[in-house]
């Protein structure tokens, strides 16, 4: 009932974890019934180890959180030796997420992912707001196209390009990614934000700014999903504040083929199974399919 297809991949449901919210490895999968999860999207891997940003790295506000983890990860070599072997034979497809400072960084990571049997698809994190240079590819369609084209040349695995919401108009970037060989777009990464401690006269996060996620960003992501769905012919994977079945169906109506669940999994790591169960009930009750609803938004 919930099965979903993107490029050559069949997913049990349209629900995916959001990169950076379910770990570097499959350990947290134990909270979910594999039949409820479309794909496990793992945290960004960069060529070299990154120690991440100083603390505090996360803070909460009314409606969400702001984080500046800074892509902490042990680097590609560690991931290749330690994590990649654990991905083979998992009951759900794994989407590995690539990050870096320049096109060569992305190509290096994507090339490695291409050779890993446990990696079913690749997501390019061209939009992390917490590392210098990361945002550039998502605000400049020429730079973005170059990176996506270069990555496409070294991998034939389904490739998702994760876009930034921190732009005036997301459509030129969506088109650039689609024209450069992306199989799907993840829309979108976190919104840049800042929380301030007025007593200390300083930002709450040590990094100053961070990426805002959670329920408060859903309307922004919804608008961008709708814009991207109208602008390109490749599937859209919504990402931004979804926390329940109704949120998922709203994104599907706006044009999403799949929906990532991120911040909501911090509160409840089993939330995706809950959402899948609710989706089945709602669709049965309404006698509808996801295909009936997809892109049915009346504008």
């Amino acid at each position: 009932m919930l099965s979903t297809k993107i490029a050559s991949l069949d997913f049990a449901t349209p629900l995916m974890t959001g990169s950076g919210t379910f770990g570097h490895d499959p350990a947290a999968l134990r909270f979910l019934n594999p039949a409820d999860l479309g794909a496990l999207v793992l945290k960004t891997v960069t060529p070299e180890p990154r120690h991440g940003n100083p603390v505090p790295r996360m803070a909460e506000f009314e409606g969400g959180i702001v984080n500046a983890i800074g892509l902490e990860n042990k680097g590609l070599a560690y991931w290749q030796d330690t994590v990649a072997p654990t991905l083979e034979g998992l009951p759900v497809p794994v989407v590995a997420n690539a990050g870096g400072h320049c096109a060569d960084d992305f190509v290096e990571v994507v090339k490695a992912f291409q050779d890993m049997n446990g990696v079913a698809a690749i997501e390019l994190n061209l939009s992390c707001p917490n590392v210098q240079g990361g945002i550039l590819y998502s605000t400049d369609s020429i730079g973005l196209a170059k990176v996506v084209t270069a990555c496409r040349e070294v991998s034939d695995k389904p490739m998702f390009v994760k876009l930034s919401p921190n732009v005036t108009d997301i459509r030129p970037l969506a088109k650039a990614a689609a024209d450069s060989g992306a199989d799907a777009l993840t829309v979108c990464n976190t919104l840049i934000g800042m929380l301030v401690d007025w007593r200390l006269r300083q930002p709450v996060l040590a990094n100053g700014i961070g990426g805002m996620s959670g329920p408060a960003v859903k309307p922004v992501a919804m608008h961008m999903v709708s814009q991207c769905a109208a602008a390109v012919d490749i599937p859209i994977i919504a990402s931004g504040g979804a926390a329940c079945a109704d949120d998922v169906l709203e994104f599907v109506v706006a044009g999403a083929t799949a929906v990532q669940i991120g911040t909501a999994a911090f509160l409840n790591p089993a939330v995706i199974s809950q959402i899948a169960s609710d989706l089945r009930s709602i669709l049965a009750q309404e006698n509808l399919t996801l295909a009936d609803l997809r892109g049915s938004l009346k504008l």
Binding site: G20, T21, F22, G23, A27, A28, R30, F31, K43, H51, G52, V55, P56, R57, M58, A59, E60, G63, G64, I65, N67, I69, E72, K74, G214, P215, T263, A264, A265, F266, L267, N268, P269, A270
Partner: protein, 274 residues
């Protein structure tokens, strides 16, 4: 090097009792029928309201007591809307509980002197730890230094008194026990050799206290452990929001940070750099 999540359970459980134990602080009991895992001293749970949570992330709380196999007690100080929602919730309110999490205290050998050092709600992991020591027959060589701003901040001290372990109270205003902070109180007892400097000394409390304790313990070359209270996004190792710097010569040699949630929250002072 991280804790396996294999024993962690995500469950819904009702609040079955609440009790005020001092300034803005309560203990709440939840009843979990289908708990299958061990949940020991120093480990913690992420708690939130199951419905209409006013926060988008849960809050971490050490296990305070386990008065019955399926009953779990947590010490909660009202700090903001997340903790307020938990302590103000009526009996019967369902909580979302993720537990057990983290690595708890290594139960030191019976003959080993153990000294617990708590500041305010830093007492949270020590009641059950002391109970476990007593069950092992180690009541006589279990000591606790419990400090607070005032007597109202020595939360639930009657429960500690009832244990019959060696209690040392301190308050900033002198309203109960030693006048001064808990580390000064500990220093006095060490100096008078009423506490052996070979003891295992475990501290828990606010960041300022833990930093002061770390400096003190290093200076005196004590066998020290800390139970860290750090901001956590998830509690189960996926968000990377709770790093603590590691020491260059400790057990975390491969990375400059350890995750408080899965590699702690109890650390040997030798392994971290605070």
């Amino acid at each position: 090097m991280s804790l396996s999540l294999d024993s962690t359970q995500a469950v819904l459980a009702p609040i079955v009792a609440t009790r005020e134990v001092g300034e803005q602080t309560w203990v709440i009991d939840v009843e979990i029928e289908d708990i299958t895992s061990d949940f020991g001293p120093g480990q913690f749970a992420m708690l939130s309201l199951a419905e209409n949570s006013p926060t988008v992330i849960a809050r971490p709380f050490s296990l305070y007591e386990r008065p019955a196999p399926n009953r779990f007690t947590f010490l909660i100080q009202k700090m903001g809307k997340g903790t307020a929602a938990l302590v103000d919730a009526p009996i019967g309110t369902m909580l979302r509980c993720l537990l057990p999490l983290g690595n708890g205290f290594d139960v030191a050998a019976v003959e080993q002197d153990v000294v617990m050092v708590a500041g305010g709600v830093g007492s949270a992991p020590f009641l059950i730890y002391a109970q476990q020591r007593i069950a092992l027959g180690a009541r006589e060589n279990t000591h606790m230094f419990f400090g607070g701003r005032t007597q109202r901040h020595l939360f639930d001290h009657q429960s500690f008194d009832a244990l019959g372990i060696n209690m040392h109270y301190s308050t900033d205003d002198g309203s109960h026990g030693f006048k001064g902070n808990v580390i000064a109180c500990l220093a006095t007892e060490l100096d008078k050799k009423r506490i052996s400097k070979k003891s295992v000394i475990v501290a828990c409390g606010p960041a300022g206290l833990l930093h002061a304790f770390a400096d003190f313990a290093r200076l005196r070359n004590l066998n020290a452990y800390l139970s860290l209270e750090t901001y956590m996004g998830c509690g189960f190792g996926v968000c990377n929001a709770c790093p603590v710097p590691t020491s260059v010569d400790g057990k975390f040699t491969d990375w400059p940070y350890a995750k408080t949630c899965t590699e702690g929250p109890v650390f040997s002072l030798a392994d971290i750099s605070i």
